[in-house]
Structure formats: structure tokens, C-alpha cells
Amino acid sequence: MNQAQVIDRLQKIFDELFLDPVVLTPALTAREVEEWDSLLQISIVVAVEGHFGIRFNMGEVEATQNVGQFADLIVKRIAEKSA
């Protein structure tokens, strides 16, 4: 799976969690979306871990700067899982 495919799947997860629809792009940051705070972040992380069947380490997701980097991290975890 590549970054674009992951973002495509993330879009569906985000659509369910956000009241106000968000259009995901690799450059989008949490700061640009008013609703996207640390409480909603938990819902996102839990949903993503469940959807892709992966686990993030402490502080890993927070270290990503934008949606693109977040998707890259997911790609990396999926690759590790199947390896």
C-alpha cells in the first residue's frame, strides 16, 4: 500500500469522526482544522490502529508533521507487519 492509498482510506475514517468534513491532503496539518484537537486525535489513532491492524509507539504519531507523514508511518507499520 502506498501513501495515496492510505490517505484514501484515512479519508473514510476522518469522514466518520469529523462533524465538519475535512479534505485530506498530504500537506494538511492538525493545526489547520479547528475540530482536530488532542481529544479527537485519540479517536483517530484508535480507529486507524483498528482499521489497519497496526500499533503505534508512544509519541510516534505526535511526531508526524502532517497527514502525508502520518500516512507514511502507517505504510511503514503495514510493511513491518507483513514482513
Binding site: 465538519d20 486525535q41 485519540i42 484508535v46 509507539n57 508512544m58 509519541g59 510516534e60 505526535e62
Partner: protein, 428 residues
């Protein structure tokens, strides 16, 4: 006092000049020199602060013996500095030994600073320490406060190394960061990744803007904070005279404003000063007085602390709770995590029941916001929720309520329980 100011300015000027030479002229090779300058200036600052120390009357009988005097004046502070520096070296070893280890071992360098902080705070020496040095407690208090920030910065650094956000630090990088003088004493808990990035980029230094930042900080820290302190608890409510109950309200509000000017003023100075060296330090405040609820307040007040707590405690704890309670209970898991986080934030600030109550008030506030927001979103629908969020009258009322709530919570931050209990006697 005059001498202390002059000496501080002299130390800071020498520090600035030497560091600029190290980082500016020597580039990458200068980092070793920069580390050395930071270690020496930290020791210099500790010696400087010792000059203020006075021995309280309780200890006068002990002072009769020359041996005891030497012990109390020199041995205890030296031992503390030794523990402090020893810990930093030990942490360097742990990061190198365990950061890339597999499994649970990689948590060792992340958790050790936290454990050390807890030991440091509750250890008998420090409980007795403030009593011993009642009037000259600055020395021990100071190292304890500095240690709270240091341990969090080192813990976060270990996590960034483990997650490979930054390469493994070499000794000089580690020392420069651990002892980085501008943020040594009062924070912010600025991240190593940001420190490192600015250490190796040579962008032009915004000298004028940095100096203005320092001046703004100085005005807030010295002038405004002192003025407001005159209306806060020490200056007004607890001045030894009886008071009208309105003075309790004035004291709470003035203390909030005092603390904002004091703390953000210091951070302004630290950020401006670090920028003169070309080192970026994270912002710690974003107009907290504009906060519309307690959750919003913590996004704007002491931001580096709430970020640290979010990444190190809130997120892992929420995930752990969700795994136990099931995804259907996600919102309750988050509420429990919020409670734990704010109680920890409360007791992190100091030893005493009052800090627990301070944390409790914020735990209740943020949990209320959490459930309240879920309720609003569910019952108002998209359009009306947006209208609610964008309404100016609602914002004004919310900001007012938040200001009052935060001011009230600082009653527990500023005063020991003994003092709080004595308030009814003071009020007429």
C-alpha cells in the same frame, strides 16, 4: 540585590558572547565548546544564587560548631549539584544503551528521568531542605524546580531518539541540550528535535526582534508582575489585616494575571535570548486570557507542559483504557485519562494537598468540557454547532466564566492549605 543584578547581566553577556563565537564562527565543531559554556554557566548561576542565602535562626545553635556551618553551607548544596550533574551523565549512558533496544527496555531512558524526578521531589533531604534553609531556600527550591523541567526535557528527548525523529545525540549535543542555560530554570520544556534543527542551520539571526522580545518579557516580568503581585495574595489578602470578601476575588484575579506576566515574561526573555544564539525555543503561551473553556486554556497556557503530558501520558493511557474498556466506551476512557493527567499536572507543580486540589479543579473543568462538547455536537447538529462556536456573545460569556474559574483554581496553586483554611478568619 543591586550586585546580583549586575552580576547576572555580566554572566549573561559573557555567555552570549562566548556562545555566539562557538556557534557562529566554529560551526559544527563549536558544539563542544557550546556544551562546555553551558555547563560552566549553569554552575556559575548556582554559585550566584548561593550568595543570597541566609541561615535561619533555628539553625543558630548548630552554627556554633564550625564544622556544622561548613557542612550546611557547602556540603549539602555541593551534594545536590553532584547528584544533578551525575544524573545527566547517567541519562546519557541510558539513552545510548537502551534507546534502540527492542521491547520494553527502550522505555528505560524515557521513564528514568520521571522516576528520578519523583525521588528527587519526595526524598527526605528535600522535604527537610526547605525547612533547614527556610529563608534561604532559593538554592534547593531552585534545583528542584529546574529539575522538573530538565527531567521532562530529557525524557522527551529519549522518546524522540527512540522514535528516530532525531539521530542519536553525541556527547556535546546532549550536554548542550541538557544544560541549555536560557531554559534551564523555568522552561519551556522545548523539544530536542527543535533544538537540534536550529543548532545546525545557520539562518540569519533576527537581532532586533529578539531584543524587543527580551524587553517585552522584562517589562512583563519585572514591572507588570510586581505591580499585580501587590494586589494578589501576598500583597493584599494575607497582609495581616482583616479584609472585605471582595478582596478574595481581587486577589485571585490579580494572582492569575501576575502569574501570566511572571511566567510568560520569563519565557519571552528565554525565547528572545535563545534566538540571539540562533536557537529556536518553543512558544509556551498563546493568549491564555482569551481561552473560552478550560480545555482551550490548556492549549494556550504552559503549552510545552500540556504537549508533554499529551504525548507521554494522555495518549498512551487513553489507548490502554480503550483496549480495556472497549471502543464503545472511548469517550469515558478519554474522560478517565483527562482526570489522571490533570491530577498529575497538579502534583507536578509541588508537594502539598493544595496542588492536588488545583489539579482536581482543572480535571473537573476539562472533563466537563469533554462531555459538554460531545453533548453539544450531538444535539445541535452541524450548522447550529458551528453557529454556537462562532457566536461572539457566547464567546464573551465563555471567556468570562473561564477567567473566573481559572482565577479561582489559582487560589490552590498559590497558597498552602493552612493559609486557605485561615481565609474565613481574615474576611469580615
Amino acid at each position: 540585590m543591586q550586585n546580583t543584578y549586575i552580576f547576572s547581566i555580566a554572566v549573561l553577556t559573557v555567555y552570549l558572547a562566548l556562545s555566539r563565537i562557538a556557534l557562529g564562527l566554529l560551526r559544527n565543531r563549536g558544539v563542544t565548546l557550546f556544551a562546555l559554556i553551558n555547563v560552566l554557566s549553569m554552575l556559575g548561576m548556582l554559585i550566584l544564587l548561593r550568595t543570597d542565602k541566609q541561615i535561619p535562626g533555628v539553625l543558630e545553635p548548630l552554627m556554633a560548631s564550625r564544622g556544622m556551618e561548613v557542612l550546611i553551607n557547602i556540603a549539602i548544596p555541593c551534594a545536590l549539584v553532584f547528584i544533578y550533574i551525575g544524573f545527566i551523565f547517567f541519562q546519557y549512558y541510558l539513552v545510548h544503551r537502551y534507546a534502540y533496544a527492542s521491547g520494553v527496555s527502550s522505555l528505560i531512558p524515557i521513564l528514568t528521568p520521571i522516576v528520578a524526578l519523583i525521588l528527587f521531589k519526595v526524598t527526605p533531604l528535600l522535604l527537610i531542605g526547605p525547612i533547614l534553609f527556610e529563608r534561604g531556600a532559593s538554592y534547593i527550591d531552585l534545583s528542584a524546580i529546574g529539575f522538573s523541567f530538565l527531567s521532562f526535557r530529557l525524557s522527551y528527548m529519549a522518546m524522540e531518539v527512540r522514535n528516530r525523529v532525531v539521530p542519536m545525540p553525541i556527547f556535546s549535543e546532549f550536554l548542550s541540550f541538557a544544560f541549555f542555560m536560557p531554559i534551564m530554570l523555568v522552561g519551556p520544556i522545548s523539544r530536542y528535535s527543535i533544538f537540534r534543527r536550529s543548532l545546525y542551520t545557520s539562518e540569519p539571526i533576527p537581532v532586533a526582534a529578539s531584543v524587543i522580545r527580551i524587553v517585552v518579557g522584562l517589562v512583563k516580568y519585572v514591572f507588570l508582575a510586581n505591580m499585580l503581585n501587590g494586589l494578589a495574595f501576598d500583597g493584599l489578602l494575607f497582609d495581616g489585616h482583616p479584609h472585605h470578601s471582595i478582596d478574595l476575588v481581587i486577589s485571585c484575579a490579580a494572582y492569575y494575571l501576575f502569574l501570566y506576566c511572571n511566567f510568560s515574561g520569563f519565557c519571552d526573555m528565554a525565547i528572545g535570548f535563545a534566538r540571539l544564539l540562533g536557537i529556536e525555543v518553543e512558544e509556551n503561551f498563546d493568549s491564555p486570557l482569551k481561552a473560552r473553556n478550560i480545555k482551550d486554556f490548556w492549549n494556550r497556557w504552559h503549552i510545552t507542559l500540556s504537549t508533554f503530558m499529551r504525548d507521554m501520558l494522555f495518549t498512551p493511557l487513553s489507548k490502554w483504557l480503550v483496549a480495556r474498556l472497549g471502543e464503545n466506551n472511548l469517550s469515558h476512557a478519554i474522560a478517565i485519562a483527562i482526570f489522571v493527567v490533570f491530577l498529575v499536572i497538579g502534583v507536578w507543580h509541588g508537594v502539598g494537598l493544595n496542588f492536588f486540589f488545583f489539579g482536581l479543579m482543572h480535571a473537573i473543568g476539562v472533563t466537563f468540557n469533554h462531555y459538554g462538547n460531545l453533548w453539544l455536537r450531538k444535539n445541535l447538529g452541524v450548522i447550529r454547532y458551528k453557529a454556537y462556536m462562532n457566536s461572539t456573545p457566547i464567546r464573551i460569556v465563555a471567556v468570562g466564566i473561564t477567567f473566573c474559574y481559572v482565577s479561582a483554581s489559582f487560589l490552590f496553586f498559590a497558597n498552602s492549605m493552612d493559609r486557605i483554611v485561615s481565609i474565613p478568619e481574615i474576611l469580615q
